[in-house]
Symmetry: C2
Subunit: 203 residues, 2 copies
DNA sequence: TCCTTTCACATACCGATGGTATGTGAAGTA
DNA sequence: TACTTCACATACCATCGGTATGTGAAAGGA
């Protein structure tokens, strides 16, 4: 029997792996993927490189594990914000707003938005993103089109456009010091979303 | 007198630098920034590492020079498409469409959209982007708001949202094989742009 | 209980890479 | 011609990601 977690070995294993992911996340976020070495990570975690290569296939694999944690956290915040609403449309807007604010966190930025695509490649990054938060966006949009609140159209391009817009906006917000920048950005994004609901304007 | 370009030395200098940028671009685009070594670049260019470090401060500086070339090319295509139109609104849409198609080029993708922000940092990447193509977008939006075609609002957030949407859409298009994906994406983006012109819908 | 196996690491080591310090010969200059 | 400058080439180094192997404690069976 695996006896997961209750044996001495399983407990220690989880502890070591957790420390590696935790310190890896801290250092990757602080200095960036390329700037931090494995020696620094294992020293901070109190282990050696042998432990790291026992748990992960390499530096990129550790980063991938870190990215998964970060994305799950962001997805949790988005889902919580959306879950607090009843109306499907309100759920979409609340989720987008939560994502926008979550993206302003420097840790999220560096790991999820900057290094993520470059280190893992865009396809793998997108697969993780899809599994975490982008899935909610797709489902929300699909539900709204099915309900007739959004004119029928492929949801995939819409998801990518909105996701990219929010990612870039979050990165910009981090390096802009205007007090109204967040509000202005949200106002513009909100107008984009409203335009979806209203459908294409009569010409 | 500098005698720029007409002396033997200046001519040779330009040749060497050009070869480094050209081969660097080819290799960076093909394998990605991290995967290609300086030895490979200088061998392809027919010089040595001494030449590279004579012209550039390091690997990142060479990449920066490559990125500038790529961004100028994209900006040229966007400006050409926009310049073919007379109406300011048609210029905006034509420019956006040109940018979207330009972004599907694998070379542009890898260098400008994937490695660019991660290698140089988002702030420096954005400064280059602003100097090249994003400036046109900002000016077009500013002109349209001044002309009353777009409701008055800060143009900076709008620029970032649209720029991010197009960047992400271009990356997605590269790895999607649906024949109508490009058309669908452009249709969705076009609706977003139209929504700007129409202004916020009555609620 | 004793022996064996497995596992979760630690230790030692290697090739490759970005970067630097220095040498060199031709092009420019007085 | 003598001297200086420049555009590289050569030689070298520290560090990094990755690997191969060793090791001692925990798990499992008799």
């Amino acid at each position: 029997m695996p006896d997961a977690h209750h044996t001495t070995r399983a407990r220690q294993r989880e502890l070591t792996r957790g420390a590696l992911v935790r310190e890896g996340r801290r250092l990757f976020a602080a200095e960036g993927y390329a700037a931090v070495g494995l020696a620094e990570i294992v020293r901070a975690a109190g282990v050696t490189k042998g432990a790291l290569y026992h748990h992960f296939d390499g530096k990129a694999a550790l980063f991938r594990a870190v990215l998964e944690v970060v994305q799950q956290e962001v997805a949790g915040r988005v889902a919580a914000a959306a879950g607090a609403e009843d109306d499907p449309w309100a759920q979409l807007t609340a989720g987008c707003r939560a994502f926008l604010t979550a993206g302003t966190d420097p840790e999220v930025q560096r790991i999820m938005l900057l290094d993520g695509p470059a280190v893992l490649g865009w396809n793998e990054w997108r697969a993780l993103d899809e599994a975490a938060s982008a899935r909610h966006l797709t489902e929300a949009l699909a539900g709204l089109t099915a309900a007739g609140e959004i004119p029928p159209q492929p949801v995939e391009p819409l998801t990518r456009l909105l996701s990219g817009a929010m990612n870039e906006a979050a990165l910009w917000l981090a390096s802009s010091h205007g007090p109204t920048d967040l509000d202005d950005t949200w106002a513009a994004l909100s107008r984009m979303l409203e335009a979806l609901r209203a459908g294409p304007p009569a010409r």
